[in-house]
Symmetry: D2
Subunit: 458 residues, 4 copies
């Protein structure tokens, strides 16, 4: 089949080459944006008298028909036409005749595909942001339910200090908040119209790029035609923001896997979100968080793929850049599905408050409170740390909890210790006394929740 660009060529494209170079199997996904971009382009060509009103009408009519056919599954994409753009243009030419042949006036696939990708990603980022906000709301709601649930806080997976489950959950809120910010920042760099840069140098025809930008709601227009067709920064920036989202979800998933182990037993995952074993009849596996954790790999991989593709390419457009689409699409799909499934699952998790609370009763989680008690009595922190360390060592030897020591036993470690110490070394007191801004006290967490709920839909 003769290619639209085939004027200078003597031979037809080898079959194997056709399938090797074709981007249709994946870029077909951009069809809606391709048509949207073409419509704006053609409207501008009409306004500028580059096309006649009649030609514009014919083209728009043709494009609308094609859109409907695709929506209704009636459009036949043909592999011979390499990509989604050539498929749509060829179909248009069949429908609109010579007018159709004018659609590509003052345009190249180089700026066209840059446009399509930006339109696509702009939409998808908005979806991701919505999913993030939804997950944030779920976290706020869950935190509200667990405003009094005490659990062990960990460092190094060793029990460190008692914290509120709500405080722990809100740590994820803050991670997601940064994710949202990064995506918003990324959007400002996506929202720049590349169309009109043509192949790389601009065009000699009297186009009006700002008009196209208005039609497609781009707040700005690219300043340099060579950069506009060479640039895939926005793809890399998005995938790296997505990579950080996946870091966060992988950490949450790791915790859900740990917490649903028999040893922790902090949570029970809903049956509907787990699967069984083909051989072991008793198993109930946390597949969803495992898969989410594993899927961080593919997003990191997509990031590496894109960085590799772009490394060392001379300007301007090179065909290597066609390899941008699959990593981008896969990243979008992965991040969306992971956010979605976690958001569905979280509210259905059964938290085992008793196990969490009991978890704070071993392992000397209030030792820091003892040290700070001594500091308040005037002991330098380093000494207080040492004294408390000795008490803990003594307790381990005696297999006792700190709070089970006799006051007289305690006094052996420091004369400063009085009976009032018992007000400070329960898990509840430990939590409540962490009143420093950002600390885990119920007062702090409640205040934060109030402010988040008031902020409402951001």
């Amino acid at each position: 089949m003769k290619k639209l660009w085939g004027g200078r060529f003597g031979e037809e494209t080898e079959k194997a080459v056709e399938s090797f170079t074709s981007s249709l199997p994946f870029d077909v996904r951009l069809w809606r944006y391709d048509i949207e971009g073409s419509m704006a382009h053609v409207a501008m060509l009409g306004k500028q008298k580059i096309l006649s009103a009649n030609e514009v009408r014919k083209i728009l009519k043709g494009l609308k028909e094609i859109r409907e056919e695709i929506e209704n599954g009636k459009f036949r994409f043909m592999p011979e036409y390499e990509d989604v753009h050539m498929n749509i243009e060829s179909a248009l030419i069949k429908k609109a005749g010579p007018a159709g042949g004018k659609l590509h006036t003052a345009r190249s696939r180089n700026d066209q595909v840059a446009l399509d990708l930006r339109l696509f990603l702009r939409d998808e980022i908005k979806s991701v942001i919505k999913l993030i906000k939804w997950l944030q709301r779920v976290l706020v709601s869950l935190a509200g339910k667990h405003i009094r649930t005490i659990m062990p806080g960990y460092t190094h997976l060793q029990k460190a200090q008692p914290v509120l489950l709500s405080h722990h959950l809100l740590a994820y809120y803050d991670m997601l908040e940064r994710d949202r910010q990064r995506l918003e920042a990324c959007l400002t760099r996506i929202n720049v119209l590349p169309l009109g840069s043509a192949a790389l140098a601009g065009t000699t025809l009297p186009i009006d790029r700002k008009h196209v930008a208005r039609l497609l709601k781009f707040p700005s227009v690219s300043e340099n035609s060579i950069d506009a067709v060479s640039d895939r920064d926005f793809v890399i920036e998005f995938i790296s923001a997505a990579g950080i989202i996946m870091v966060h979800l992988s950490r949450l998933s790791e915790e859900l896997v740990l917490w649903s182990s028999d040893e922790f037993s902090f949570i029970e995952l809903p049956d509907a979100f787990t699967t069984g074993s083909s051989i072991m009849p008793q198993k109930k596996n946390p597949d969803v968080p495992e898969l989410v954790r594993g899927k961080s790999g593919r997003v990191f991989g997509n990031l590496m793929a894109m960085l590799t593709v772009m490394k060392g390419l001379p300007l301007s457009y090179n065909r290597d850049m066609q390899e941008d689409k699959e990593p981008l699409f896969d990243t979008v799909d992965t991040v969306k599905s992971c956010l979605h499934i976690i958001t569905l699952m979280l509210p259905k998790i059964k938290f085992n408050k008793k196990a969490m609370k009991e978890g704070t009763g071993r392992a000397y989680l209030t030792a820091t409170d003892v040290a700070e008690y001594l500091v308040r009595k005037g002991m330098p922190f380093r000494e207080a740390h040492k004294v408390t360390g000795m008490m803990v060592k003594h307790c381990i030897g005696q297999k006792k909890k700190i709070e089970s020591l006799e006051p007289s036993e305690m006094k052996r470690f420091s004369k400063m210790i009085g009976e009032d110490i018992f007000h400070f070394i329960t898990a509840e007191a430990s939590v409540e006394n962490k009143k420093s801004f950002g600390g885990t006290s119920g007062k702090n967490v409640s205040a934060r929740l109030r402010s988040l709920k008031k902020g409402g839909e951001k």
Copy 2:
């Protein structure tokens, strides 16, 4: 729909979870290996009297029917059955009744999927090796045609010394030879039967794993059941070997892109392997090598994905490991298609011998020959290097070639220079005199080609 593992479960799986966790869309590709593995397993169960001869017959008959149905496109894979294994087993139970329910005796999906993946990759590596050998043969044949074609050799993309095109092409032969070796080495570690490790601990039933190994042509059997179901080393090892192949192909592609630039004009790519521009009528773009070069990114990305998935997973099987398939499949497809397309293209490239030869006439490519000439006359190399450097500087100033200097002019730089120097400073002489083993002289290259041809099919 009730799951085969659903005995202990109260709720059915959420729809979104089903689609999130399903591996069917990609692991369906393993169907042939899944059936092959099941047949060997069941034959062994029969031999060990765990199943009756009648049961074995029914199961084998059922599996064969399923195989035929899949081959003929008549089998309906059902998304509700999560993966390819459950689809085939469910279909078998429908066909073979209670006997079908005995197929999974003494087996878990954990060892089953490890088996399927090894069978798959074993086959695919053999295909990749065949493609490598084909490309090597094409290189040998091409080198044979260019046994006298002189071109500039480069370091730092600066012209360095004249070399034979055939010698340059055979550099790729040697890279591919190492690639082949790495794949063979990888094969020895794939060729270990995991089946019979069951979930992770082995089984209480009297199976005979060595018999299964014989049936499936595995030279060895895994020694530790926990390792056998936890291990994906072979996937990582293969992808990293594939990554190095892509490094090699990306280097060759870079050279093809450079050489087909107007500035180099060393080659002309066949029309059938290039494409045109949608806007610039004169363009003929080296899309194939560009895409090959770009596709290195996806293989590196797949490698990073797999390393990330496996990092820090406790033993034994974790669901994260389901994320092994897509990077593996994509790597197999990418490496095969890139090797294939390059192999098809190379013989059709038109080499512009004249441009290559002329390329050696500028830029003082024989300066090292001058220095070595002086060394043979007794000058220490460092001094010879300095003297020749001065001559080159002089030539640049005078806009002359070395060989256009008058003997008297030369003697100003060193008295050691005699008229015999002109025998050493043509491109032809420079090449011919590189007789050190592995050097670029025609004698060497011819000998190498003879030995490679004699070696024949490896």
Copy 3:
């Protein structure tokens, strides 16, 4: 040696463990920020009456002395003290006695190291931004000098259309502009005070975090203590922004390498920025751009390292996170040195205007202008593309340039072609007529330069 945290321990740390776990060899680099943070912390402890004025005075005096000693190379860092924090605190205790033991009140190394890293990175990002702006100014200045230099523009490394060198250089200006924006965005997320989060839960002591924030010029304070000590988003975000900078520099470097090849000969690199060969006396190698291009690898690697470190870590702090520093430091150093060296080199490059101009005379670079000429005469673009393609094919066959065709010869391809076509198909006209916004015409480029110069120091 007894550790500051050693109260509960029975054995001393194994020597091999000490050196394995020590971060001193690299985190010593943070010393200035560690002291700065401690000073602000202690001033706040004084204001809040947690320490007495006298204690504060002693501590500040001690910290200043330590700072001077380090500046003068007189401070002895001791490997036994694991890290920079413990080294400074231990020295302080020696100087200030028991008061020194109070420095660590209401603080943990977890929030302290998060603070130090943010202070460090905040400073370094400002340096990177300055370097970017410097490079941008150099580009603007260079573009100003080449406002009339015509060169071939490329797509697929095939000559595409004539462009201005100034326009090409400004493409890099725009890439760097996005880099700058990304770093500014990253700064807003770094500029959040973590100190006061203590180990993970906050503290029971009445600290005033906002006061510390004011002293250290942090516009905001972290909201959640668990997140504050668990978070390394800012490290990943910075490295990924740096990765994109390296993509841009690697592309520029690739072009410099290409352009200084004998085949292109578009530029000559200054002797002072190249090196010679140990064996080939004539060589002058573009080492600087080669190394910059290669160094993209280490930054991508650092990004992968950090993503891997953070993947799947449960909250809050884990020792794995100590692995954040080396990739971060290496990225900072790499990006700064690459930006710096490129900025020094660019103004000293000799551009070979003649070779660039001549490069536009082959390869039919104005074919698109012919097509757009026909479009202006009313021919549909697709037809114009085809007609021009035929002309190019004809020219290749005849070994002619388009502009050397006789008008009558041209008319054979289309009756629409008139003699006026010769006004459109010189390289100069082609450039000048690309007046679309962002296009390569001199008018556009001049206007851009005026606006960039007016913008001045951003």
Copy 4:
């Protein structure tokens, strides 16, 4: 300072360029291999009469002196001499006069650095292999001590079936065995002499490469001079093998971290291998396994770095390749230190056998044994799985263990169940009955241990 290659240059190298391009800070590490290689080279030049016996003697004497000076810390490496090679050669010229200037005869830095790197890596891989074998022996010894220690085996971090701790430990033995094999395979590709390839084309001087190979114990000699100086496959292959080692060590580390959590309490790490908290006096943190787990990141990053460096480089040597050394050195150091520290730590871990055993008493770990019991009685496995699943569900509802069910209660699920079932559903019986090859039964494990001990030093 005048460079050894400076003949043709007009300006001296810019200071900033000198420090940017210098590899001395890291390649100094190769000094011993550089001297070793030079000695063999010079001995061959003597044998071939390219140098006189007297010259050879002078050079060898000079090189030996330099070696001693470096060993004794008396050699002054000078930054102006770019790299380790030029430093040693310059020092030699000072010592040996004009003879010293003959060392570099028939050699380029391109083949010299390839040689040094291969000599270095050959040695280091042997060290890594030794460390692997040491760790394997420690695992065998530890397994020998725990031949009766029963623990829960996990899939999905859910308890799955009882296994022997010794069996679990030997899973790591098998992983390391594959690591060892991969390194051995890598060695065969390193053990190829590149020297004599000179810059890229070979040399005109009558060298004898096979003699050099014998002197340096290389079993083979590179076949193609262009490939020999362009190739860094062996660096990538080693780093990827190292990456898989780090995957294994990160998995082991994850388990050690989990097992030393209060919730698991399976092990206690030795005090000497843990550290405390700067704020929490009770903490004892598993820093060593955390750091090992984290360090997987840097090795993966190094791999990505090297792949990126090599991607798309045209032949032959390019300066980008200087970026091979730091990732390689860092990988060698990381892998060695991680193997070493884990090997030191493992024998000192206190295993809490009681906690491990108790861990098998909850969570229905012998459900699969029940199912296989039913299979042996003739029930199809799928039905047995379902029946057992119902029993587990019943037990969960009743908060009973399977083994606490009354026989009559059991019979309600299947008439096939007899009193003999109680012989099969203890943890001990479950383990003992896993007699399939590679299964966890004590008999199997003992046999494996005997065979491994007999194999002795491999």
